[in-house]
């Protein structure tokens, strides 16, 4: 901001910006809230399915006798509910709102987006209940029955068109790092989804080409759909909340392009040791190790931005969730790079260690950042502050302790599971018995996470119902900058 502005001019600028932001938020209000509410609904559904699946793994007689609730089906339905339901819908909400905010452009024709939201929900409903009633496809991440993808494709088409349209109508000449990530994500995801649905379902490729395409998609869903939008969200929220610009523009450029190039090559590490050409696994091991570059670039950038402001974690719920997520991003990515090494994969592959890793990524990182975003974004859309700090506190601690317990328990159990499976002198039954306490601990963690989600949902419903105090307009922070 140029120096010679008088205080009255500054004041006028502030008021104008505040009015502009309010107008943008008003244009987003309906559709973004629709996506957010649906996301939270599927988060709850996914939590219930997760608990059922988890309990069944240590207590096999739990809900036995029902084909609909057999482990395999519930496991598939859980992934659809949280992956295609919760995380993807939250990604869309995040992409739409932040793109409008950062482009300084209103959402046009917002009503069409209700259609996209409805299509997405119908698709997810068909996916989850289709699987429960016996149409699961056993293609990891793509278990939805064949009648569901057309709904996702149509919904995705609308969302992508709207994000790009908002970007093209931008009034702000500078394109912020979050916008790069969102543009990348909305470009990559439809591409990989269409290719994969085509090559696995519509014109099935031969033999192992299917799992190859499957893991190219599965890994990129996390890497080039959730990750860019979630990392972009951290790039947006951290400076916004603490009131200072991002540490280094150049680091953010390195982080973005290195992610775009290397993440897309990492997927085949899910098939190390499998019946695929050796060069494919090697290429992905290289891609996975190179991921250290963008991850460390983002980690340094976020850390340096936060430096001197960590005390604000005490006050700001949005910041606390976001910073937890950003730290988990670094942790899970560094772990993931090493898991792609042959000697590491040899033990960790086929075990609960990988399950722990996946949840640290999808929950500790992506979900926690989206919680942070929701705590920041929802009041700006509804015009109401959160009614109960206690509920937010319950949510945070249940989520943080839950995912930590989950991760630690399954990582330890999974590691020894892998070591024992690699020793043919250890009978299989001994491994199964050894894992029981770890699997039970995972269920306890699952209960904690679910309690947190309930607290979050109650908070959200109270906010929508107008229980919080009214926001007084203008740019408000949980803690005023400099205060």
């Amino acid at each position: 901001m140029p120096a010679p502005l008088t205080s009255e001019m500054l004041e006028a600028n502030r008021a104008r910006s505040a009015a502009e932001r309010a107008a943008i938020d008003a244009s987003c209000r309906g559709p973004v809230l629709a996506f957010a509410v649906s996301a939270v609904f599927w988060l709850l559904m996914g939590s219930v399915l997760a608990l059922i699946a988890s309990i069944k793994l240590h207590s096999p007689y739990f809900l036995t006798g029902s084909a609909e609730l057999t482990f395999g089906r519930v496991r598939m339905a859980h992934l659809q509910a949280v992956g295609i339901g919760w995380a993807s819908l939250a990604t869309v909400a995040a992409a739409l709102w932040q793109m409008c905010r950062l482009s300084r452009a209103e959402l046009i024709y917002p009503k069409i987006l209700y259609l996209a939201c409805a299509l997405w929900n119908v698709g997810t409903l068909l996916a989850v209940f289709g699987i429960i009633f016996g149409d699961g496809q056993s293609v990891e991440w793509l278990d939805a029955p064949r009648y569901a993808p057309p709904f996702f494709i149509a919904a995705l088409g609308i969302v992508v068109a709207w994000v790009v349209a908002v970007f093209r109508r931008r009034r702000e000449p500078h394109v912020y790092v979050t916008q790069w990530y969102i543009l990348g994500a909305v470009f990559w995801f439809p591409w990989m989804y269409l290719v994969t649905v085509f090559m696995i379902f519509w014109a099935p490729a031969t033999g192992v080409v299917q799992p190859i395409v499957n893991w190219w998609f599965g890994h990129n869903t996390l890497g080039l759909w959730f990750t860019p939008v979630a990392v972009g969200t951290a790039y947006y929220l951290i400076p916004k909340i603490i009131g200072r610009p991002i540490h280094s523009y150049y680091l953010s450029i390195i982080g973005f392009w290195a992610l775009a190039l290397f993440y897309s090559w990492a997927g085949m590490h899910h098939l190390i040791g499998g019946p695929i050409p050796g060069w494919l696994a090697s290429a992905s091991t290289v891609g996975s190790m190179m991921m250290l570059i963008p991850v460390l670039a983002v980690a340094i950038n976020h850390h340096m931005t936060m430096r001197g402001h960590f005390h604000r974690l005490r006050y700001s719920p949005a910041l606390r969730f976001t910073v937890f997520g950003a730290i988990a991003y670094t942790a899970v990515s560094v772990q993931g790079s090493f898991e792609a090494l042959k000697d590491f994969s040899e033990v960790a592959h086929f075990t609960h260690y990988t399950v722990a890793h996946a949840h640290l990524g999808a929950y500790g990182f992506v979900t926690m950042i989206y919680f942070g975003l929701f705590y920041y974004m929802i009041p700006r859309l509804t015009g109401r502050e959160w009614a109960s700090p206690l509920l937010i506190r319950v949510h945070f601690w249940c989520a943080a302790v839950g995912i930590t317990v989950y991760f630690v328990a399954l990582s330890i159990g999974g590691w020894w599971q892998g070591r024992m499976m690699n020793n043919p002198d250890v009978p299989f039954g001994k491994i199964v018995t050894y894992l029981l306490p770890y699997l039970f601990t995972r269920s306890v963690a699952g209960v904690l996470l679910t309690v947190g989600h309930l607290a979050f949902a109650v908070s959200f419903i109270m906010n929508l119902a107008g229980w919080g105090k009214r926001r007084s307009g203008g740019p408000t922070f949980f803690v005023e900058p400099g205060g």
Partner: protein, 266 residues
């Protein structure tokens, strides 16, 4: 980076590289693989699934079996452990009899969907049709895995079975399991103390005479119960339904990594 075109072109180029490298190139490299025949007289391997086994593949798929069972055997280079003499050895998958060799892409050319799996909550099934070719065993195991292995955490697949009254003679397909597994399929059943007393009053002496136990003593009563639970039900039988038959046919047809292939040396 304030220009949309730069971001678009960069995103296009970076992602194209992986699309070409990880998807299209393998598609081209592996898409045309043919079955293997050592010479004209040799049977081709692999062969497509047919009939009941093909229907069973769908049952396996729709119930998410692959989320606990892989169908891939890792090579001799994978899976290392220290044996009793403190020597490091490798090749755990093959030592566990998951296959005679590693699996390679050609093993899967007729699989659709190709369910390699990523998780071994249960053992690998690539060659289960060779490792355990007994259909009756698979049926009793599917009805309630605890009937075969007390430690098992596998779900009971009782919904692939029907418990019905025996009309005329017992069906050939009836599972030969004690009544503890068949009275309430999917669970392990035991009569309540009252039911057991009533039963003993009615047929205790005859039963006791069969095995030479004394139902009057507490110990004898308990042993008699344990024995009685392992005997089959007289009037009822449990038989597989169409899904159960199909699934077992599919399991028995899983015979990967048993025929040698020239490309699977290690």
């Amino acid at each position: 980076m304030d220009r949309g075109m730069v971001i678009f072109l960069g995103a296009l180029l970076t992602f194209s590289s992986s699309w070409l490298g990880l998807v299209l190139f393998p598609f081209w490299q592996l898409g045309g693989e043919k079955p293997y025949q050592k010479d004209e007289t040799d049977d081709p391997y692999p062969v497509p699934l047919q009939g009941l086994a093909l229907a069973g593949q769908k049952v396996y798929q729709n119930n998410g079996c692959m989320y606990c069972h892989t169908q891939q055997v890792r090579s001799e280079r994978f899976g290392n452990w220290w044996d009793a003499n403190g020597e490091q050895r490798t090749g755990a998958d093959i030592r566990r009899s998951y296959g005679q060799r590693r699996t390679v892409s050609r093993d899967y050319i007729y699989d659709n969907p190709t369910m390699l799996g990523t998780m071994r909550t249960g053992p690998d099934l690539a060659n289960i049709g060779v490792r355990n070719p007994s259909a009756p065993w698979h049926h009793t195991h599917l009805l309630n895995p605890r009937s075969a292995n007390a430690w098992s955490i596998m779900p009971s697949f009782a919904f692939f079975y029907t418990r019905e009254k025996v009309v005329g003679s017992r069906s050939d397909k009836a599972l030969s399991l004690g009544r503890e597994w068949t009275v309430n399929p999917g669970y392990r059943w035991k009569p309540s103390a009252k039911e057991w007393d009533a039963l003993l009053a009615a047929q205790g002496p005859a039963l006791a005479a069969q095995v030479g136990l004394d139902p009057a003593s507490a110990e004898g009563k308990k042993q008699l119960l344990d024995y009685w639970l392992t005997t089959p039900e007289e009037d009822y039988q449990v038989v597989p339904n169409a899904d159960g038959d199909a699934l077992v046919a599919y399991l028995l047809a899983l015979r990967k990594a048993e025929v040698p292939l020239p490309e699977a040396k290690e």
